[in-house]
């Protein structure tokens, strides 16, 4: 079967900056894939290459086996982009109706609006919507054509918790209904909740392509910091799932994907701990450890 997305040795250079540096990936029908990476990693450029919004400087991009700019390929895709806008004087319903006309067999208008949870705002002009509502409008525009594949670039940015939960729920339902879904995010948690495959991109290259379980085991997701009761030797951390360990006097900072087990072992080894803090790791520093290990 023809894959939905094919990037072969794809490179993209903007002036002096090479945003994508040789990406090979194939996404098959029905997959639910998250492109994960810190800001500026090349996720958006990669999506742009997949959709033909950008031409690869080198290598190849195919969408449903066609040139990505081909109308036959585009007609099978729904798209939600960052930094896109829409005409503010039209209402939600009018815009959804307009985008439906671009597709061969669209969803009923009200259905698309309901999928985005925008029923109360269906008659409102787009410029009156809040940031989160506007994201939902873009989601409605992406799904209204009932496309086989959805490309969602940072779909939950700017959404409040409630909206985010509802939209993630819709995405999950669409995936369960057989749609191919490609989304970008810089939240490991979001990728983990949704995707069955996570592609980690950093500095324009794929550094990991695996199941969420496998990725989580490799990316330290928590930062642990504390003050030790007494000076510690390096040996005390022997055999622990710890990345990027920093010991400055009594101050200890480390990254780990299983902070509970690390702390338990440290306690068992007689370490006393004060000012303990366990926080979600900044993905950027987490990636540093991942790339460093390669």
């Amino acid at each position: 079967m023809t894959p939905v997305v094919e990037l072969v040795g794809a490179r993209k250079r903007f002036g002096d900056v090479e945003a994508v540096r040789g990406v090979d990936l194939t996404i098959a029908e029905g997959e639910m894939v998250a492109l994960l990476g810190p800001n500026g990693a090349g996720k958006t450029t990669s999506i742009g290459l997949m959709l033909g919004l950008r031409r690869p400087t080198d290598g190849q991009a195919r969408l449903f086996g066609h040139d990505p700019a081909d109308r036959r390929a585009r007609s099978r895709c729904g798209v939600m982009l960052q930094e896109s806008g829409t005409t503010g004087v039209l209402t939600v319903r009018e815009l959804v109706d307009l985008f439906r006309a671009y597709y061969p067999s669209p969803l009923p208008t009200e259905r698309a609006i309901a999928l985005a949870g925008l029923e109360p705002k269906a008659g409102a002009r787009a410029w009156t919507l809040s940031g989160g509502e506007r994201q939902r409008l873009y989601f409605a525009l992406a799904v209204c054509g009932d496309p086989e594949a959805l490309f969602l670039d940072e779909p939950t940015v700017g959404m409040d918790v409630e909206t985010r939960r509802a939209v993630l729920e819709s995405i999950r339902a669409l995936s369960a209904g057989g749609k191919t879904i490609v989304l970008t995010t810089h939240y490991l948690e979001e990728a983990d909740q949704l995707a069955r495959r996570i592609i980690v991109i950093d500095h324009g290259v794929v550094i990991a392509d695996a199941t969420p379980r496998d990725i989580k085991a490799r990316i330290p997701s928590k930062r642990v910091s504390f003050r030790a009761g007494a000076p510690l030797s390096d040996a005390i951390f022997q055999g622990l799932a710890v990345q990027s360990l920093e010991v400055a006097g009594l101050r200890v900072r480390l990254l780990s994907h299983e902070p509970e087990r690390v702390l338990k072992t440290l306690f068992e080894r007689g370490v006393t701990v004060e000012d303990l803090e366990v926080t979600g790791a900044d993905l950027e520093e987490a990636f540093l450890s991942l790339t460093a290990r390669r």
Binding site: R54, A101, Y138
Partner: protein, 259 residues
């Protein structure tokens, strides 16, 4: 897969045109200026002299309606495309459309159709006002010819509008459109007949697109100053020039955004 794999282009065009018309209609700065301003100008410059007859026997009222008609259509084209396109670029509407199955040509064709609809409405209101309030009389066939010629000959101003839209930013577009279009209209004798304008203006008028454009309407009344073919040649030349500039500005923008 069952069913057609792409949506019919006509369906896209109709939906897109419908939304373009709604968009323009809902922005009073556009709809009012385009539909009402030509009538206001006619009230000031035309109404007091509408009953007079020119030296060549043509009704001055009809002549001025034809002039303001030419101004009105050019206005819709230059402002509609210039400011409309520049604004949409500012709001990044093009990004989402670019990723959709809508072909760029259908998008532009919808804008052209919308502008033609607004032009027809503007002309009908203006001429209707001239007939009812100004008491200007011409056979229906003459009015129909004036309207048809002004719509068909508007291509140079479509090109000029697209060029302004892709070349200037959203904030600059209204000023640029005014700076280009108002002097152009004035110097072509659309507001005040040419014989009342200074000599240097009369000397440059025959080189301006709106001068030859207005000839299409004036000659329909029997007040033309050149054969129809000559007007059409000038307009074809200006169309080629402005459309080339518009395509170049469009391509430059495409390269910057989507290359």
């Amino acid at each position: 897969m069952t069913g057609p794999s792409v949506a019919p282009l006509l369906q896209m065009l109709l939906a897109q045109t419908r939304c373009e018309i709604l968009m323009r209609w809902r922005v009073p700065a556009f709809s009012v200026t385009n539909l009402v301003l030509p009538i206001v100008f006619f009230v000031f410059f035309g109404l007091p002299v509408a009953h007079l007859t020119r030296g060549d026997g043509v009704s001055l009222g009809a002549y001025l309606l034809a002039s303001f008609g030419a101004y009105a259509v050019g206005n819709v084209m230059v402002y509609g495309f210039g400011i409309g396109v520049a604004n949409e670029r500012g709001m990044k509407v093009d990004r989402l459309l670019r990723a959709s199955p809508l072909p760029p040509l259908v998008f532009m064709l919808a804008k052209v159709l919308t502008a033609l609809v607004f032009s027809l409405v503007a002309l009908s209101l203006l001429i209707g006002f001239g007939i009812v309030v100004g008491g200007v009389k011409q056979p229906a066939a003459v009015w129909a010819t004036v309207i048809a010629r002004l719509l068909a000959g508007s291509l140079p101003f479509i090109g000029l509008g697209f060029w302004i839209g892709y070349w200037s930013g959203p904030n600059a577009a209204p000023a640029v459109a005014n700076l280009i279009y108002l002097p152009l209209s004035f110097a072509s004798g659309l507001f005040v007949p040419l014989n009342q304008l200074p000599d240097f203006v009369r000397a440059i008028a025959p080189y301006l697109p709106s001068y030859h454009y207005a000839q299409l309407a004036w000659s329909a009344l029997g007040a033309g100053k050149e054969p129809l073919r000559e007007s059409l040649l000038w307009l074809a030349g200006y169309s080629a020039l402005f459309l080339t500039l518009a395509v170049r500005a469009y391509r430059r923008e495409e390269r910057a955004k989507f290359a």
